[in-house]
Symmetry: C2
Subunit: 145 residues, 2 copies
Amino acid sequence: MKVLSKACVYGLRALIYMALKKGDSPYVSIGEISEELDISFHFLTKTFQSLTEKGILKSYRGPSGGVAFAQPPEAIFLIDVVKIIEGEGFFDSCLLGLPGCGEAAPCPVHDFWKEARGAMKREFETTSLAGLADKVSRQRLRISE
Amino acid sequence: MKVLSKACVYGLRALIYMALKKGDSPYVSIGEISEELDISFHFLTKTFQSLTEKGILKSYRGPSGGVAFAQPPEAIFLIDVVKIIEGEGFFDSCLLGLPGCGEAAPCPVHDFWKEARGAMKREFETTSLAGLADKVSRQRLRISE
DNA sequence: AGGATTTAAGACTATTTTATCTTATTTTAT
DNA sequence: ATAAAATAAGATAAAATAGTCTTAAATCCT
């Protein structure tokens, strides 16, 4: 069951890495992240560009440049990132792929799926990057293979 | 959010169609199903082949042949179909795509995702084709676009 | 000023998924 | 027997996703 695209998974891992890294400079180079997490540099760059456009990150070129959070990671929730990378309609899908599935013209599993994806949405709305980073450092979790 | 592949979605829609159709002969031709539900004939044929191999369906060639349930639709649950079409490990995925994610080496969202996919699995385990077909006919739901 | 470093942007390639097409094989009815 | 109806199987094509490469632009440092 593949729910999130590679771009999204890589983006989230990278953001957690950034949130985890409390250095003197807020800027972290994409090169460092891609090396540490073993993610294609150019692929990650492309993903980060959209996050920069949408105001999640800010970027700075040149030596010792990189990307940094444009908002504190406490205020960035998974849903913000997912919506940017996967698209706005991410939580409106029909499990059976019927276009326009909804209360008016539901599919046979609409009721269940509405609840299931709703739970997922709520979780994404309440989980911040800072919260995840905190969990990772406390419990020594991994964010790469 | 695309959870199920086209092959799986088409397969499920087609099976519901079959469960819905209480004709004199248990055999329904794939040609009819593909036409009624607007699904590529050959694509559906390929999907049905694996369901036949795994004992969900039985097939009969020749004029007035087709496919029929090898077990009563009351005894066929969504999970049976999904596991055949999507693969055995469908409910073991990691949301962040980390290989070997589990209790021993969990990812940061493992706890949540374990619960979410568990709920989905339970729903699939308890929903039969007959149950869905019944719901469709009672509530006049649609199974095609 | 000039070279090194880093993101930005877009073209290009590869892989996977989805869909179609073609040909064979099996079965039934006449 | 023969024709018709259906599945079986594999080659091929199209589309979506994932990943790579190249060039440009910005910034810093000496």
